[in-house]
Amino acid sequence: MNVHSIAAIYQFEMFRMWRTKLQSILTPVISTSLYFVVFGSAIGSRMEDVGGVSYGAFIVPGLIMLTLLTQSISNASFGIYFPKFSGTIYEVLSAPISYVEIVIGYVGAAATKSIILGLIILATSTLFVDFQIQHPFWMLGFLVLTAVTFSFLGFVIGIWADGFEKLQIVPLMVVTPLVFLGGTFYSISMLPSFWQGVTLANPVVYLVSGFRWSFYGSSDVNIWISLGMTLGFLALFIGMTAWIFKTGYKLKP
């Protein structure tokens, strides 16, 4: 394993986050805090408890997951897209570094950024609502697994995109709606049975549900199914990444 090469990419990406800390860290923290203020404190105080959990506390895992998904995809896609856009990708592709090492560098950095953000938002949420984490190790496990999984998806999107518009299409037009409709702000048991069935086709349901279980010990979907689905997504996105590097898709003519 070429440790120096991985470290070079990883540090480069992490430094980029630090250089753009207002955009990378402060902006998502502020926007998520607004959700807590509006849905947690203002509206949430008038809502009934959900499964014995106050509404403000109920939406904490969902909001963290919302940030985790969007930021993982955004960080990873931009991280690999920008070198393609600027042309500096030539250096990575001509370096004595394997595809696995390239992916560890880029996806590792994107996932790290998202995990840091997730933890910051978790800490911020304690300022607005009271909650306890029943299964902290599971919570951390889901946090890391989701960040890594969707950083892989972001990496794939970054390679697929040949313009900034495409770079934004999937996060804005696919992921955000799926997260909002995936039980971030409600339990799917609140829905009519038909829509419950439809919602189960939304992959984000399993992520939010599993993550919420690690907080409160109850969930819409069995924890093992959530874990299995998350691992399934991870396998799918790793497979797509492997195919990209095997074929040189949009990287090497």
Binding site: N2, Q11, E91, A95, P96, I97, K252
Partner: protein, 311 residues
């Protein structure tokens, strides 16, 4: 000298069917400066990109050192530094950070002393804390070279290294390239400036239409394909050349004041003395006699045109 790059039967055909490289055979000797010449779209950059791992070859083998660029790509690429044609830089990075990044990317431990030396050699030391967007084009070009040198490559590819740089910087770059060669680095450069190849190269390759049409020592090439032109300035204008010189392909200028004669530089009996003696015998006086050797540019243009005509 041993071969440090060996290209055999290399072909590259893109998905749209365009054949950019056609059965390329080429060897680069260790420690030489090799200039790859060719018109736009000839395949220079594709050839370099394939050797460096940026383009997947369709057919053929390439070895850098003793390492195959596909099956032993890590070892092969570790030997190679690439300065691409385009000025592709991370605008918001500092000079120091981007050069250090390149060294790490190529798997080398940090070496501040070496980076400092490279930046000083390239007159970039004073700019080390500047962001790349603050640098001029020439400075960015130097940064690209510094990045390529940061991992101490044995082989350095310079794709149009002096494109768009001023004369002074070009001279500086030539000096740098010679210094690198003196330190044992093999240099392969592509250039549009034929004078650059003429000035620096030990050997020259000409590529056109995806095919290598010639590889030779520069000096041998100049001797073998070089032509000389004899120019005789006359004291008084003449209307026609003497009949006694009809056997020679002489040209008389429109004003009748200049006679020129192109001949093979390698030809032992070139007829110059006979032409001069005849002119004197005919009572034609002259004020000046000059010979001019054809440049590499002339040779290059002839080669490419011959190839195009044949096609």
């Amino acid at each position: 000298m041993t071969d440090i790059i060996s290209v055999q039967g290399l072909e590259k055909t893109y998905e749209n069917g365009f054949s950019a490289l056609k059965n390329i055979d080429l060897t680069i000797k260790q420690g030489e400066i090799f200039a790859l010449l060719g018109p736009n779209g000839a395949g220079k950059t594709t050839l370099i990109s394939t050797i460096c791992g940026l383009v997947n070859p369709t057919k053929g083998t390439v070895k850098a050192g003793d390492f195959d660029i596909i099956s032993q790509y890590k070892a092969a690429r570790g030997l190679i530094g690439l300065v691409p044609q385009e000025l592709t830089t991370d605008a918001f990075e500092t000079v120091w950070a981007t050069v250090s990044f390149s060294r790490g990317l190529f798997g080398k431990k940090p070496n501040k002393a070496l980076i400092e030396q490279i930046l000083k050699d390239l007159s970039l030391w004073d700019k080390r804390n500047n962001q790349l967007r603050q640098l001029s084009g020439g400075m960015k070009r130097r940064v690209m070279i510094a990045k390529a040198l940061s991992h101490e490559p044995q082989i350095l590819f310079l794709d149009e290294p002096t494109a768009g740089v001023d004369v002074e910087l070009r001279r500086d770059m030539w000096a740098l390239v010679r210094k690198l060669r003196d330190n044992g680095v093999t240099i392969i450069l592509t250039t549009h400036y034929i004078e650059e190849a003429e000035e620096m190269a030990d050997r020259i390759g000409v590529i056109n239409g995806g095919e290598i049409i010639l590889v030779d020592d520069k000096d041998a090439l100049m001797k073998r394909l070089g032509r000389k032109t004899l120019t005789i300035s006359l004291y008084k204008a003449i209307e026609d050349l003497p009949i006694s010189l009809a056997d020679y392909p002489l040209q008389l200028s429109d004003d009748g004041l200049t006679v020129s004669y192109e001949f093979d530089a390698q030809q032992e009996h070139n007829g110059i003395s006979h032409i001069i003696a005849n002119l004197q015998a005919e009572g034609i006086e002259f004020t000046d006699i000059q010979t001019q050797e054809s440049s590499l540019e002339d040779i290059f243009v002839n080669l490419v045109h011959q190839k195009d005509d044949a096609a």
